[in-house]
Structures are given as C-alpha cells and as structure tokens.
Amino acid sequence: MKIKFKLNGQAVETDIRPDAFLIDVLRDLDCLGVKKGCDTGTCGACTIHVDGKPALACVQLAAKADGQEILTIEGVRDQAKEIGRYLVAEGVEQCGYCSPGTIMSILYLEEQIANPSDEEILYYLNGNLCRCSGYTGQLRAIRAYMDSKYKEVNKNETCA
C-alpha cells in the first residue's frame, strides 16, 4: 500500500507492507538515526516526533503515518549537535546508541518547559533507557543544557 507523509519537512510517498512498522520504513528511507533497540516499545531508542509529540517508531504501524508529520534526529541536526556537546562534556556519550532517542525527548521537554526541575527532567526522560547507565551524567548534561538555553532566552528578552 502507498502512504504519504512529511518526513523532516519533506513530502514523502512510499510503498509499504500493510503490517510494516514505522521504524523499518524510516530506516529504509535512510533515517538511520532511528535506532532499533528493544523493538518492543520499552527502551526509547527509536523515539521520533509524530505531529509534534514523542512516539516510538517500533510501536507505530507505518500505515498510520499516512498524513502525519514525522520528525527524526536527521531533521534536527543542529540542535542534536548542540545537545551532544553537553552529553560529551559530562562523559555520558558512551556507546551512543540511546543518544538520538534521548535527544528527541530532550527537545520535546525543551518545547514544553522552559526551565524544568530535575524531577520534570526525569519525568520527560523516563522512557529513554541507557545500557551504559549514564543516568546521573545525563541528568547533569540536560540540566546544564536547559540552564544555558533558559539564560540565553532570558538574556535576549532583557536586551529586547
């Protein structure tokens, strides 16, 4: 069957098997940053944004994507690089497999809450597992990234 959707801002039309899952279709479309981890909807490595909300590409049927807007890590390269620098600075970019999904969750958190508490960070990141167990370092990195963004926005507002 044919489906049409927006992928990272570009219109896409592709042929899929009716029972294909979105993760396989996206990876076939060269979005290799969408990682296949548990493949059971548990680990968050395949986190993408569907119509602006985080979702799991390994759980979503590709057929359901017809008419939807899909955003993967490939569509947010600059932001991903910036967040990546904070993860590296805290030494938590170890195997790196969970990073794309984690970054997609961080970006959603950033959209929702300008200055999140540690509790809110943990609530938004609860669905992203890290096999290297870098949670404490990740929290420090996200805290530092969010603080810098918050200061940046407030500085701009003050200057304006």
Binding site: M1, P18, D19, F21, T40, G41, T42, G44, T47, V50, K53, P54, A55, L56, C58, V59, Q60, L61, A63, K64, D66, S105, Y108, Y123, Y124, L125, N126, G127, N128
Partner: protein
C-alpha cells in the same frame, strides 16, 4: 510478531463494525503497543484514528473519554480537569515513558481488560461506564467482570466529573516495569471506592473493605482493619512478577499508603 494483510482506517463506525464482523481474524487496533509484543496472525486490522474518538469532553456530571484518547492526554491535556489530571499522572506516570503513553489508548486498554493495567484500576475506582457501539452502556465493574461482548467496538468511557480525594499506589520490581500489584482509592461524598489490579488478574472492587470504610469512616484504626480485610477478601494469583502470598502482603501496605494520602488530602481540602 504481528502480521496482517489489510489495514483499514474507516471513516464511519458502522464501516469499522462491518469489517470487524465480516472477517473472522480481524481486530481493532488501539495504540498497538501490546499487540506488537504478541505473536498474532490477522487478516485485517482496523484503525479508528479517523473517527474523532480521541476527544475528552467534560460535562457537569461526567467526563467522556473517547476510546482513542491516549494515556498522556489524560495526564497532561489542558482540557482535562486539573484534579483528574493529577490523579491520572499519579496512576499512569510510571508506564514506560511519555513516548509510549502518547500511543497507548484508553479504548485499547479498557476493551482488552488487561490485568496488568494501571489505567483499568484507576477507572474502576472512579466508577462510571463504558459505551460500546452495539451493546450500549455497561457499568465499568460489570464490564470487567462479565464475559466480553462479542466483536463490538468501544467508543468511550465515562467517569464522574467530581470526587473529593483519590490515590493510586503500585508496587514494581523496577521503575517503568509492569506493576506487580496496583490499587486505587477514590473518596466522593463520604463514600470510598477501592479497586485492586495486577493481582495479576483484571481489576476488581474490594467490596467488603469499601463497606467497612463506608460504615465506620476513615481513621488510623480503620486503616489497619481495612488493610487486613482487603488482604483476606481479594483473590490474588501468582505469575513471574510475584507470588499470591507476596501480593497479599503488599496489598496491605499499598492500601495503608493510599488511605493515608486520602486522609491528608481530605484534611487539606478542609483547611
């Protein structure tokens, strides 16, 4: 692995119902998260995404939750009353992550009457009704106890729009894992409702414990009595997460925690 030949996204409920009943190995899909983990071969899958069933409407006496409403909408939707939202956040916030809760639907979970579900326990504690396309309205407790209406479609779940206090507690082996036992208590106009789920069987009301609290009231003494009554009246089973004996012991602690939260909430409401 889930496999099927045809994906349908009907534009009308009647079409969905016709497809469901025309093909023996067809199934309505909600978020699809649990189906994904099973090993099922179907001919047809029916997606209700185009039927405007993802809305939540608040009325004076009840809140209507459309079948395709996601868990995350319940815990975060601006149109959900704040008090309900907080209770749903307490009840659903430990289920994997926001990504999954953005996909898992109320209808898929309630219709399937999953025993492990946190939502089903929370909804049963509220009371209310499920609405099925052909079978009509059924109280939520009857829906969980009766045999399932044959090949029908759940349209919405209605819960009361007012309650005085509520608490949800669960025990898990690790964060974001399935609950090995969950428990929800609501307090509305002097009446307590207590639901226990993940026993590991589907959620069930603790009628004797409710009667005890509704007749004697809530105090530090009756909390202890209620915990003992609950442990005796509720049938518990064993699975890979816990034994029936363990669940029975844990149930006392969960109920005490929940009732203490209710006591605090009632006192703070009074002040």
């Amino acid at each position: 692995m889930l496999s099927f030949n045809t994906y349908h996204r009907p534009q009308a409920l009647e079409s969905a119902y016709e497809i469901l009943n025309k093909h023996k190995r067809s199934q309505v899909i909600g978020g699809g998260a649990f189906l994904r983990m099973g090993n099922r071969k179907l001919t047809d899958v029916i997606d209700l995404s185009s039927l405007n069933l993802d809305t939540v409407q608040t009325h004076t006496d009840q809140i209507e939750i459309g079948a395709m409403t996601t868990f995350h909408t319940l815990e975060s939707g601006a149109h959900i009353p704040q008090k309900h939202r907080a209770f749903f956040k307490e009840s659903l916030g430990q289920i994997v992550g926001i990504q999954l809760r953005n996909m898992v639907t109320v209808g898929g979970t309630v219709y399937s009457r999953y025993g492990f579900s946190d939502l089903n326990t929370a909804l049963l504690a509220f009371g209310g009704a499920v609405h099925l396309y052909k079978s009509g309205q059924i109280s939520i407790e009857n829906f969980f106890e009766q045999s399932l209406p044959d090949r029908d479609i759940l349209i919405k779940v209605c819960i009361p729009s007012a309650f005085d206090a509520a608490s949800f507690k669960s025990a898990r082996l690790s964060t974001a894992d399935y609950a090995l036992l969950n428990l929800a208590v609501t307090f509305t106009s002097g009446q307590y409702r207590i639901a226990v789920g993940a026993r590991p069987h589907r959620a069930k009301l603790a009628l004797e414990t409710m009667h005890l609290l509704n007749s004697k009231g809530l105090s530090h003494e009756t909390i202890d009595q209620a915990a003992e009554t609950l442990a005796m009246e509720m049938p518990f089973g064993s699975n890979r997460l816990a034994s029936s004996t363990y669940r029975q012991a844990v149930s006392k602690g969960l109920l005490k925690e929940a009732l203490n939260s209710i006591l605090q909430e009632v006192h703070s409401n009074e002040n």
